[in-house]
Amino acid sequence: MSVLCEIRNLSVTYRGQKIPALKGIDLDVIAGERLAIIGESGSGKSTLARAVAGLLPSGSVTSGGMRWSSGHPLQPGRDLGFVFQDPSASLNPVLTIGEQVAEGARRHLGLSWNRAYSRALDMLERVHIPEPDKALKAFPHQLSGGQRQRVAIAAALAAKPGFLIADEATSALDMVVQAEIVSLLDELVREAGMTLLFITHDIALASGFADRVAIFKDGRLVESGPMGAVLATPQEAYTKALIANHRDLSTPPLVREVAS
């Protein structure tokens, strides 16, 4: 079990803000693990993802920092793939699906366009896009939201990064598509032995496949540990509330049942 990234006393304040978005975070990312980052809006979970990816906007003030086992920060696109919440915003509307997936492979793996296209075709198959040869020539608007997110995942993984960050990657999708995308991520990360940082507001969604969990609130790390242990014996009141507030089909309804 080797540590991929040691985050120590990390604080981030965005330009023009008085209140830091992250305050004194200590967290290890272990190579090959699936680490779930859980939090509600304003918890700092997306700021953590951006800090780890080196994608904080210019003018952000950071203190403390991250130490990578490789000795240098991961290069976004090559060592690290990032999947965002809104696939429409992360795909270029005027480039074909093929160009966008091939681009990363061409740039970071040094492939010719021809070989990069065949890598893109392979990636579209791996993310289960129907008729991948046709999809190569399609534009993002011709695909559904779920298919676009599959394409965004294919593009993020085209350069074979060892580390994938998915930031609310399923929140804009309906439940059925969400379940499909989570199972796709699970499959791809397992096959390639990648490290996954899975950021979500939904602790139950992450519980199915994350090894460890870190819970954030108001820019601070509330609690972290193995997923099973945190769910079974949460230490903090906030974690307990988060678990208690979860609703699924076995939660008693708020309305009286009607006779059939």
Partner: protein
Amino acid sequence: MTLLSVENLSKRFSSGGRQVAALHDVSFMLAAGETLGLVGASGSGKSTLARILMRLIPADAGRIRFDGEDWLALTGPELRRRRAKMQMVFQDVLGAFNPRATVASVLDDPLRIHGIVPKNERPKEIATLLDRVGLSASYAERSIREVSGGQRQRIAIARAIATRPLLIVLDEAVSALDVSIRGKILELLVELQEERGIAYLFVSHDLAVLRAVSHRIAVMDAGRLVETGTARQVIDNPQSSAARALIAAVPRFATGTSAGISEGHDS
């Protein structure tokens, strides 16, 4: 008592030269004071149905009877007057408000337009409405942009109940909210229903939310209503593949031992 009956409703859209059936022969009934949860994946037609009901877009075929009247035949001032009885709450509440509005003006509009209370009583009514949705009267002078997402959704609910409606159509009304706030909004909706006998048509892709508040659930798939039953029937014994897929997709805790999770159904 039947409040709303939808009969053989159909709607087609043309998209890139193709005709797409957004709704195909949809029929259902809703009783006064009842909640019907309408569930389906993206593109199943549930929002099209909500928009036709609100008379935001026309239907191609079919009938809607609401509160004893032919709802699709109403026009002009007749329709405007009756709209007080059917209100709507959207997912994106900020998009549903004039961004320059204050909380008071958002609530004043329906009271004025529908003549709910005399002019001099409107400030008091606004305070009462705010209080009813759990906000203090001091919110009245705030800008709608200054308040949090959860507070804005409470204001949207206050606006919807201001006209004393018989039916509120809720279109993904809690989907954008944090889980802790979502639960409180659902509780508020159920309280208001018990107190005022309002019927809800609750549209969502999230079956766990619908299970919490629905008496009956209707499942849509590709423009068709494929299954209707009591909430328990649909969830415990789904008949359609669409319902089974929606049930399987609800996130649940992977370990059965966690605190706060009830075992099985309530009795």
